[in-house]
């Protein structure tokens, strides 16, 4: 028999299978997390470096202004007097007018969408995001108020919640086709901002409803009771003493939704997005036309330049540049929501 173990002998670390397993699992967990971080870093670095090279310039004004302010153009590439020229459409027409005679017999290669900029796409994406988030917030917050404040828990409400959760699981392409069938064809909106807004709004409604309901439920019951005990109606209690305090939480849900709405290509490719359109959204005959016009959008543009046109050395710049500007635009819109949330939090601290 071995001598009885002393306390000192017991507490000295000895490798046991359980301890080895713990260490292995700990490293597995840590590496999995780092792996995610590494993937994200790769994506951002790749787009940041290559896209940044397109968007930023070494000389003043340090930003590729035409890329951000002009519409996409066809790129014309030609050899002229021993030099290789790359000209956008407008520049090429001017150049051709000046050198009409000398250009005879010169071979001109054209690459679609590889010159100019992506201004209409930025405008289109901002419009799509703003409109659809507005619609989704109004519908979503109203539903969340109903579910959290008015509805009596029962089989029907449980079914309703299940339906909302399921809606979140519907693939975006299905939303796109649904929007196409309902808004574009049945309601005869055509490929339009309005159809895109409604389709995107439906897609993010589950996120907004669920998060808004959580935000409303997080407001202490005492505020509701306090209001009611002072003779407020339920509606007064909600509008004055529940909803304002839930707004920061509701805005959190909208930040998530902004990222999704801005990023999805499938729902808008049938409902709202044009490959190319010469007019900008505010160049409409009458104000009602505003809602019934298609727009160009960043995610759809990336899809087009990355897969719908012949690939060559000139398309690469557009792809990376657009992706970079796209990330930046989404971040900018999301930041406004974050800033708004911070200000609200400061105003209604509880």
């Amino acid at each position: 028999m071995s001598p009885p173990a002393t306390t000192a002998g017991m507490i000295y670390a000895r490798p046991t299978p359980a301890k080895r397993a713990e260490r292995a699992v700990f490293w597995l967990l840590r590496l999995s997390t780092y792996f995610v971080l590494a993937c994200a870093a790769c994506i951002f670095l790749d787009i940041g470096l290559k896209g940044g090279a397109v968007v930023f310039r070494k000389e003043a004004p340090f930003i590729n202004v035409p890329f951000l302010t002009r519409a996409p153009e066809t790129l014309n590439v030609l050899e002229f007097e021993g030099r290789k020229l790359t000209l956008g459409d407008a520049a090429f027409r001017k150049f051709r007018a000046e050198h009409e005679a000398a250009l005879k017999g010169v071979r001109v290669e054209t690459y679609v969408y590889s010159a100019g900029g992506i201004f209409p796409n930025i405008v289109g994406t901002v419009l799509l995001v703003a409109g659809s988030i507005f619609i989704a917030l109004v519908l979503g917050v109203l539903s969340a108020i109903y579910l959290s404040e008015y509805a009596t828990e029962g089989p029907f409400i449980r079914f309703l919640r299940l339906a909302i959760v399921n809606l979140a699981g519907v693939p975006s392409i299905v939303f796109g086709l649904f929007g196409f069938g309902l808004f574009v064809i049945a309601f005869d909106f055509g490929v339009s901002l309005l159809a895109g807004w409604l389709t995107l709004a439906l897609m993010v409604l589950p996120i907004i409803i669920t998060a808004s309901e959580e935000a409303l439920k997080a407001v202490p019951k005492g505020y509701r009771e306090g209001s009611l005990a002072l003779g407020a109606t339920k509606l007064q209690a909600i509008t004055t003493n529940v909803l304002p305090y839930a707004l920061p939480g509701i805005l959190t849900s909208s930040v998530l939704s902004i990222a999704r709405v801005a990023g999805e290509t499938a729902p808008i490719m049938f409902t709202a997005a044009f490959v190319v359109r010469d007019e900008l959204p505010w160049q409409v005959q009458q104000w009602t036309d505003f809602f019934f016009q298609g727009v160009m959008a960043l995610p759809y543009h990336i899809y087009v330049v990355a897969s719908k046109i012949p690939q060559n050395e000139y398309t690469r710049d557009v792809q990376y540049g657009t992706a970079f500007v796209f990330l930046f635009t989404v971040a900018a819109i999301a930041m406004t929501a974050v800033v708004l949330r911070l200000r609200l939090r400061r105003k209604y601290k509880w």
Binding site: G222, Y223, G226, G231, A232, N241, W350
Partner: protein
């Protein structure tokens, strides 16, 4: 077990006390008449009958879960907010009107029967906005009148001198005791007749508690007050009449002095002397 013999003096059945002899000067504002109350299938109150007198402080005491808060929340129909909770029998009359009559406007009822909660719940707004909340939702916009009511309510709640220089600062910056007095000021700003207090001092330290009790003493000149409390000394100090509840039944209801000095029911005596509960 054999059948119990005729009730002996040793048996302690829960009996409902007969209403204490009414003070001829006091009018019964609230008459609770044979009230039963259920949360869904579980019954919380059994055949409660008692009368609450005008401009008196009435205390409800009893161990946790005895139904005293439930009864209090019946008086301004706050229990309406709970799914499945309802009065299943009897009547509660305020000034002779059955408040569970379908014709009764709950909003008007709650304006006349104010409430102060266990957990002080000032809204995360300024002190001024807290006091004027009840008036503003009724549509009062007259600034001078609102200012006047704010001062009067804060003076009424013995809070004016402490906060008069920071009326427009957040109410959440006040101490716990001040917050609770603010809630009382907020309740009296809408000029109710009756103020219900649900354990208003349970989260306060002894000094803040003393201030609230002093305030209750002041307020009974103008208001009828019903207070639920766990603290028997508090009931003894600040109430005129006390009702002792146990397991959803009213055991004894009498002048506070009688309840504490000379209770009729042995169960009451055991409770007030600290032998159970």
């Amino acid at each position: 077990m054999s059948e119990p013999a005729a009730p002996s003096t040793a048996a302690r059945p829960v009996t409902v006390a007969a209403a204490a002899p009414a003070d001829p000067a006091a009018r019964a504002v609230i008459e609770i008449d044979d009230v039963d109350f259920s949360y869904g299938p579980s019954r919380a109150l059994h055949d409660i009958s008692l009368a609450i007198h005008e401009r008196k402080v009435t205390a409800f005491i009893g161990p946790s879960g005895c139904g005293k808060s439930t009864l209090l929340r019946c008086l301004n129909r706050m229990n309406d907010l709970i799914d499945g909770a309802r009065v299943t029998g009897g009547e509660i009359r305020i000034d002779g009107v059955n408040i569970y009559d379908p014709r009764v406007d709950v909003i008007e009822l709650r304006k006349r029967v104010g409430m102060v909660f266990q957990k002080s719940n000032p809204f995360p707004k300024s002190i001024y906005d807290n006091i004027t909340y009840g008036l503003r939702i009724q549509g009062m916009k007259n600034k001078a009148r609102l200012d006047e009511i704010v001062e009067r309510s804060l003076r009424g709640a013995a809070l004016w001198d402490e906060v008069k220089d920071r009326l427009h600062e957040s109410a959440l910056g006040m101490s716990g005791g001040q917050q609770q007095r603010l809630c009382i000021a907020r309740a009296i700003a809408v000029e109710p007749e009756i103020i219900l207090m649900d354990e208003p001092c349970s989260a306060l330290d002894p000094i803040a508690t003393a201030k609230v009790e002093e305030l209750i003493h002041e307020l009974k000149r103008d208001f009828t007050i019903v207070i639920v409390t766990h603290n028997m000394q508090q009931a003894a100090r600040c109430s005129d009449r006390t009702a002792f509840f146990y397991l959803g039944k009213l055991v004894e209801y009498a002048e506070t002095r009688t309840i504490f000095m000379n209770p009729a029911n042995p169960q009451t005596e055991a409770y007030v002397s600290g032998r159970f509960g």
